[in-house]
Point group: none
Chain length 252, copies 2
């Protein structure tokens, strides 16, 4: 293993890593129809040549697209386009329990309000006593892009600080880390809704547009509600993606 090694082609300062750039190029090509569903993407070796990158970097780029459900990869068969990306679409796995405890990919929660639960806020909606809860409101998004709006109630006796929430991968995770309160049951409801003028304004979308409405209630082992959330994602910005596989019992 004594061949000389090409110096790494690092991205310019402030730019995304090369593998993300290549992933974005491919994502855009799928989105604009250059590659259609069923088409083969350039293979790993071809991507190396096209973008002057290593096979590792090419595979990392393709791994991103695989995770987003845009392509399917099988050995020898190659990389096949399986879906078109919505423009700037974020996808959240909707598989199992853990997926409920995570933010979608890189869509972070930007807190815009965290404090006393207003009498006419989410607590009222859920018929809860506001004085027992903290309300949190925030945007979900990445960078300057807003994917959705979230509103949550956190029971006062297990309300982390805003900093703790910022540093965690989810609000439920922050609660568990700080107070040891663990979600034992999560009830979820996904439905379609029409954006009200207020929500539309907050989300920078036209009023009357369609949106995904997700409500979740998290309960601990004795069944006590400790976290309730609702999120609104305008159509075109967000989708739940799930992949179920029939389980093999031959594993391990």
């Amino acid at each position: 293993m004594n061949t000389s090694k090409r110096p790494a082609t690092r991205p310019a300062a402030g730019q995304a890593p090369r593998y993300r750039q290549v992933a974005q190029i491919l994502r855009a090509a799928i989105g604009n129809g250059t590659y259609k569903v069923g088409d083969l993407l350039p293979g790993e070796i071809e991507l190396c040549a096209l973008h002057d990158i290593s096979r590792h970097t090419a595979r990392d780029a393709l791994r991103l697209l695989t995770q987003e459900g845009l392509v399917v990869r099988r050995r020898r068969a190659g990389t096949v386009v399986s879906a078109r990306p919505g423009p700037a679409m974020f996808v959240q796995p909707l598989g199992g329990f853990q997926d409920l405890l995570q933010y979608a990919g890189e869509a972070r929660l930007k807190i815009i309000y965290y404090g006393v639960a207003p009498a006419d806020g989410l607590a009222a909606t859920l018929n809860l006593a506001p004085e027992d809860w903290r309300e949190l409101r925030g945007y979900r998004g990445s960078g300057a892009q807003t994917v959705g709006l979230a509103r949550m109630l956190i029971r006062k006796d297990c309300a982390p600080t805003a900093t703790e929430i910022d540093n965690a991968s989810s609000v439920a995770g922050a609660i568990e880390a700080r107070f040891g309160v663990v979600a034992d049951r999560v009830d979820q409801r996904i439905s379609a809704m029409t954006l009200t003028p207020l929500l539309a304004q907050l989300l920078g979308a036209p009023a009357g547009d369609a949106a995904l409405h997700t409500q979740r209630q998290y309960r601990d082992a004795p069944g006590r509600l400790f976290l309730a959330t609702e999120t609104v994602h305008p159509a075109g910005r967000f989708a739940y993606v799930t992949s179920y596989t029939r389980e093999r019992t031959d594993v391990e």
Copy 2:
């Protein structure tokens, strides 16, 4: 780069890849409390030593746990446990899986078209050769109430008759009963959409209203697509309701 390379430590025949084995060991350790939320996992270098694997294999194992939301990784900070593995990782996929194979509750499928896949139908949307597929269109509803509209592609070589479909609890069930083709993997995507005038008319809903849009692709064991469906449910008529419970995994 002229040091000799250790031969790869491949898993024994029939066993999962090493990176999956290591991931499972760590997952179990998190699950049984060896590592608690907030704890540091062994770093990459330590995992290499502990399991006699390369850093790449260690990183792949940790990447799985990251994807499952069990750990959070940041440079220099290390790998921190962010959640305990619920059954969600294994979240009774058969239960969830089977749900995909059934109609929602009592909402039956009323077939309004079953035959040749039109050149401009769903096959075109999925970039499939229409001549290899049958297209089925129908209403989902109960009694006189229409809940949603469904459109499906069934691969010709395993297309049941309309009567067989009527008599089964699902199209996938009819396919399995008649041809023995079993869904091994189902990819699902749930998003919000706005009703086009045509869809609105078919559904008796105002054009421009919000709707839930669900797309599913069913693949058999070798990964071949044999059934693709899409359904549209106007807002207010349909919601996905799910309840996840953390399963007691004290047995293993």
